[in-house]
Point group: C2
Chain length 387, copies 2
C-alpha cells in the first residue's frame, strides 16, 4: 500500500529526486537540476544547499563555461561522509570493502584462507577482526559507516544461511557471531553480485547474473530492481531441471543443472583437481577438459533457455567460476540459446562474462547500504534553520 504523503515526505522524496539526479547524471548545476527534475530553481537551491550541508553533495569548482552567461556551480555526490561496509565469505578468502557514497572503494582488506569445512565461529571471528580494522580505517578517513551487508554463497532467509555447499555449513546465523557497532545484514552472494554488476559494472538495468560455484545461483535484475521471489529464495538456477532422468542431485531431484555444470561435476568430468588445474588443462588444449566444458556449457544453455522463456531475459552475465571459464563456455551456451530461442524471439539474449569478477559480491553488498541512503537521504539531512 502506498503511504500517505505529508509535507515531510514531500521534502524527503524531493531530496531523493535531486540526489538521484546528481548520482545518475554526473556533475550538474542547480539550473540543470531544475530542468531535469521539473522542480523550480528556488526549490532546487534549497534542497541542494541542505544536501551539501549534510555532506551528501559537494560543490566542485565553477562549471567550465566558455558560453555566455554566468557559469553555474556544479555539484557531485560527496564521498566525504557516508560509507558502507561490504563483507564476503568465500571458499578461499575473506574480503571486506568500504565504499563511500560515490561508489569509490575507500578501504579494502582481503585475507586468503581456505574456509572449506572450517567452523562458522572461527571464520566469522576472523571476519570480525578484518571488519573492525576496516571500520577503524574508515573512521580515520572521516567516514561514517551506515551499515554492513555480508555475502554468503547459498540460500538465505531472515538472517539465516540455510546451507552453504561451498563451506559445508547448515543453518548458520552469522549476525549472532559477528559483533559490529553497525547493523549487519545477510544476503545471497549471487543476488549481491548481481547488484554489484548493476551499480558498479555495466549499468544494464535488466539481466540475469549467474554465479557458478559448487552450487549455481542466480540473481535476477529487472528494471534496475533485484527480483527475489515470494520468500527471497529466487534464483536457484542450479536446480532447474536439465534432464528429468539424469543423475541424482543432493536436492533430492535428478538431472538438475548442478549435476552437469556445478564445480564438482565439472572437475570430475574434466579430470582436474581444482579450478586452476582445469584452466591450465583447457589452455593447453586438453581434450577431456574441453569436452567437460562443452558439456557443461550445453547444460547451462538448456537451463538458461528455460529461464529466458519464463523471465524474458535479454542479457545474461556469467559470474563466479564461469567468468574464468567464459572463453570455453560461451560457445556452447550461445549455440543452445540461439537454436532453442530463435523461433520465438528475434534475438537470443546477450551473453557476457562478469565485468567485476570476484569483486562483484562485496561491491554489491556495500552498495546495498549506499543505495539505501541514496534512496532516502532525509535522515541524514538536518532541516535548514532559518537564520
Amino acid at each position: 500500500m502506498t503511504q500517505a504523503v505529508r509535507h515531510e515526505e514531500m521534502r524527503a522524496r524531493n531530496l531523493e529526486v535531486v540526489l538521484g539526479a546528481v548520482g545518475r547524471g554526473g556533475p550538474l548545476t542547480r539550473a540543470a537540476l531544475a530542468e531535469v527534475t521539473g522542480l523550480t530553481k528556488s526549490t532546487v537551491s534549497k534542497l541542494v544547499g541542505d544536501l551539501v550541508e549534510a555532506g551528501l553533495l559537494a560543490e566542485t569548482g565553477p562549471a567550465r563555461a566558455g558560453e555566455r552567461g554566468r557559469p553555474g556551480v556544479e555539484v557531485v555526490l560527496s564521498g566525504a561522509r557516508v560509507a558502507s561496509l561490504g563483507l564476503e565469505i568465500n571458499v578461499d578468502y575473506l574480503a571486506v570493502r568500504v565504499l563511500d557514497l560515490t561508489g569509490a572503494v575507500r578501504v579494502a582488506v582481503r585475507r586468503d584462507r581456505d574456509n572449506r569445512g572450517a567452523r562458522p565461529k572461527k571464520v566469522l571471528g576472523e571476519l570480525q577482526e578484518l571488519a573492525s580494522e576496516a571500520l577503524a580505517e574508515a573512521h580515520r578517513l572521516g567516514l561514517e559507516a551506515a551499515g554492513a551487508v555480508l555475502a554468503v554463497s547459498g540460500p538465505v532467509g531472515d538472517g539465516v544461511l540455510f546451507s552453504a555447499p561451498n563451506l559445508g555449513w547448515q543453518d548458520v546465523r552469522p549476525a549472532d557471531l559477528l559483533r559490529l557497532p553497525i547493523p549487519v545484514e545477510l544476503d545471497n552472494e549471487a543476488n549481491l553480485a548481481a547488484l554489484g554488476e548493476l551499480w558498479y559494472g555495466d549499468g544494464e538495468r535488466d539481466f540475469l547474473y549467474v554465479s557458478g560455484e559448487i552450487g549455481i545461483g542466480a540473481g535476477l535484475v529487472v528494471g534496475g530492481v533485484l527480483y527475489s521471489g515470494a520468500t527471497g529464495l529466487a534464483g536457484e538456477l542450479g536446480h532447474v531441471v536439465v534432464a528429468p532422468e539424469g543423475a541424482p542431485c543432493r536436492c533430492g531431484g535428478s538431472g538438475c543443472l548442478e549435476t552437469y555444470a556445478g564445480q564438482e561435476a565439472l572437475l570430475a568430468a574434466g579430470k582436474a583437481a581444482s579450478v586452476p588445474a582445469l584452466l591450465a588443462a583447457l589452455e593447453r588444449g586438453d581434450e577431456t577438459a574441453l569436452a567437460a566444458c562443452a558439456a557443461a556449457g550445453r547444460a547451462l544453455g538448456i537451463a538458461l533457455t528455460s529461464a529466458v522463456n519464463l523471465l524474458d531475459l535479454d542479457r545474461i552475465v556469467l559470474g563466479g567460476v564461469f567468468t574464468q571459464l567464459y572463453p570455453w563456455l560461451s560457445g556452447p551456451v550461445s549455440e543452445v540459446l540461439a537454436k532453442r530461442l530463435g523461433g520465438l524471439r528475434g534475438t537470443p539474449p546477450y551473453l557476457t562474462a562478469s565485468r567485476l569478477g570476484g569483486d562483484a559480491a562485496t561491491l554489491g553488498a556495500a552498495g546495498r547500504v549506499i543505495h539505501r541512503v541514496l534512496a532516502d537521504p532525509a535522515p541524514f539531512v538536518t532541516r535548514a534553520q532559518e537564520a
Copy 2:
C-alpha cells in the same frame, strides 16, 4: 526514477491512499480511515468529501453502532460512475464484460463461435459489435467507461499479437481493426487471467497462473504486481525444457513442455478428438486418457520445478483447460513437485485450480483499467471549490 513531488502530487497520492484503503478494507468510517492511513481526521474528511463528490466513493447508512459515541458514517467504493471494458477472443467464443469500480460485473455479453482459422478482420468486426452493444448498455446504466483491454492467447508486445497458436494468427494489430470510442489495449490472456485471479479470485498476492491451451502460458504475480520481464514476454512456460532430447517443438527447440502437455499433445496421447471428449473418457476411466493426463501432469511438474527454483513460487494456479483437467493432473504434478523440491524448501508450493475458470481473462482485462483508476483517482476528482 522517482518523480518530484509537488502539492498536487501530494494530494493525488493521498486521494489514492484513501481510496485504496476503502477498496481493500471494506466499508470504513472517516475516523477509521484516519487511523489506517495515518492522516488526520480533517484531511481525511476533505479527501473523502471530494471522492464522494467525484462518484468514486459512496456513503452507506450510519455505521452499525451499538457502542458508545456518535456512530460514524461508512463509505464504500461507488459503482455509480467509473467502468471498464474487458474483451476476450477465445477459440470457441468472444466475451465482453463491463466492470464498475467495485468489481461488480454490470454488463456481460458472450457469443459462442468457432474462431479457429477465422480471419482477424471478421473476428474483430464481430467483437466490435459486441463491445459497442456493451458500451451502450453501460451508458444507459450511467457508467463512464474509462478504457478497454483485450485478452488474446499468445505472446504480445507493443500492441502486436505476434502469434496465436489457438487461432492460427500471426502479427496482428487488433487495435487497428477494432474502432471503439475509448482507448483499447492489448495483452496476453495468461497475464490478464493472473490479474483476474489476483483481484477477483483468491486474493493471494504471490502466485504463478498457468494457462493451458494449445500453447501454455503463465502469468507471474509477485507482491500483488504482475511480472512481465524485460520486454513483456515473460511467462512462456510452454517452452521450458522438459527433456532436451525430446520431440521437436514448433519453437525450433525440442522437448518443450508444450510437446508433452499442450492441448494437441494431450488429445493425441489420449486419443480424443476434443477436450470434452477427453474429459468424458477420463470420467469413464479410460486407460489411455488417464495415462495421457498422468504423463502431461508429470511433464508439467518438471517444468514447474524449474519455475519454482528460479522464481521462488509458493502458490501455483492451474487455468485454461488445466482447470477442467485438474482432478487428473493435480496428483502427478504435486508428486513431482514434492519429490524434486522437498530437499531445498520446507514445503512444495500450494497447487489449486483456477477459481474463476474461463472468466479470469475478461475480469483481469477490465480490472486493469479499474485498478489504474484506483491507483490514480486524481484526474476524476475536481478540486473542491471554496464556497
